[in-house]
């Protein structure tokens, strides 16, 4: 239970950061933390007591292997995270170039 809950706490720290912080880089960091939390959660879901990595050693006795499917999913999720981070940094850099700041309270040109 503790491990599951700590993932949720990590997710909530990320949500809090995105919702409250006023700095573009802080928002990027918040989203990064949320992604870590979900990736961690998936891998924890796939862990088996006393399990080893899901790589078969030819000839060796059959050990307990952990669930490989969540790992495959997380691999994809990591790539998606990298992709969004790259996009966000690119946009943030352009915005910095236009306004000279990362503070969203100063760059809000669009009306609500």
């Amino acid at each position: 239970m503790f491990v599951y809950l700590s993932c949720v706490v990590l997710l909530l720290v990320g949500i809090y950061c995105v919702a409250v912080k006023k700095n573009l880089i802080k928002i990027i960091i918040g989203i990064g933390i949320m992604e870590y939390a979900v990736n961690l959660f998936l891998v924890i879901l796939g862990y088996r007591q006393g399990g080893t990595a899901p790589i078969i050693q030819p000839g060796a006795a059959n050990p307990i292997l952990v669930d490989p499917l969540p790992q495959a999913l997380v691999l994809t999720a990591i790539v998606i995270g990298l992709a969004t981070t790259a996009m966000m940094v690119a946009i943030a850099m352009r915005i910095y170039n236009c306004y000279g700041t990362f503070d969203i309270t100063k760059i809000r040109k669009l009306k609500g």
Partner: protein
């Protein structure tokens, strides 16, 4: 698993530091520490594939983030905290946390997943695909279609980044007319 719990606490603390720190560069470094913590957790939980990927991705993301923040040591401004936004967020976070406490009880115990589908992968993965690394067998054979999507996402992000960082987005008025007539 004491070391796992310790690492989880370390990650949560690191994340809070990253969120609440007033210096951007320190925040970025703190979130990097969380990422490396995650990498060690992956190793502990029997996911070396993910550990390697997380490690290299973390390095790349850090390099990119540091390049974006360095030489722009604008301290965060804390004028005009919006109390409403704070209040709503904190209420949401508390409700969500409490709610998930009850929901997570229904999950199988930590360390005993259901493995409904994965049993097939473990038992027949090697025979059917010929790959010793079962994660590779899943991402490139059983669920290769996902990986095609994954590769396309990265491609999208690369093209998107290149598109966003063009120096000039719109053509000048004159060029339009020439092309149009």
């Amino acid at each position: 698993m004491l070391e796992l719990n310790l690492l989880l606490v370390f990650m949560v603390v690191g994340a809070i530091i990253a969120v609440e720190n007033h210096n951007l560069l320190s925040s970025v470094i703190a979130v990097g520490a969380v990422g490396f913590g995650l990498c060690v957790v992956f190793l502990l939980l029997g996911a070396p594939d993910l550990a390697i990927t997380q490690l290299v991705v973390e390095i790349l993301a850090l390099v990119i983030l540091i390049r974006a923040t360095i030489a722009k040591t604008v301290p965060e401004t804390y004028k005009g905290r919006e109390l409403l936004a704070y209040g709503v967020t904190i209420i949401f976070v508390l409700v969500f946390g409490a709610f998930s406490y009850f929901a997570l009880k229904y999950l199988p115990e930590f360390g005993a997943p259901l493995m409904k589908v994965s049993k097939t992968y473990l038992e027949e993965g090697l025979k059917k695909t010929g790959a010793l690394n079962l994660v590779a067998a899943i991402i490139l054979d059983f669920r290769g279609y996902d990986t095609l999507g994954e590769a396309s996402i990265l491609f999208t992000a690369v093209i998107g980044t290149l598109a966003i960082l063009r120096l000039k987005g719109r053509k000048q008025e004159k060029e339009t007319d020439e092309l149009d007539s």
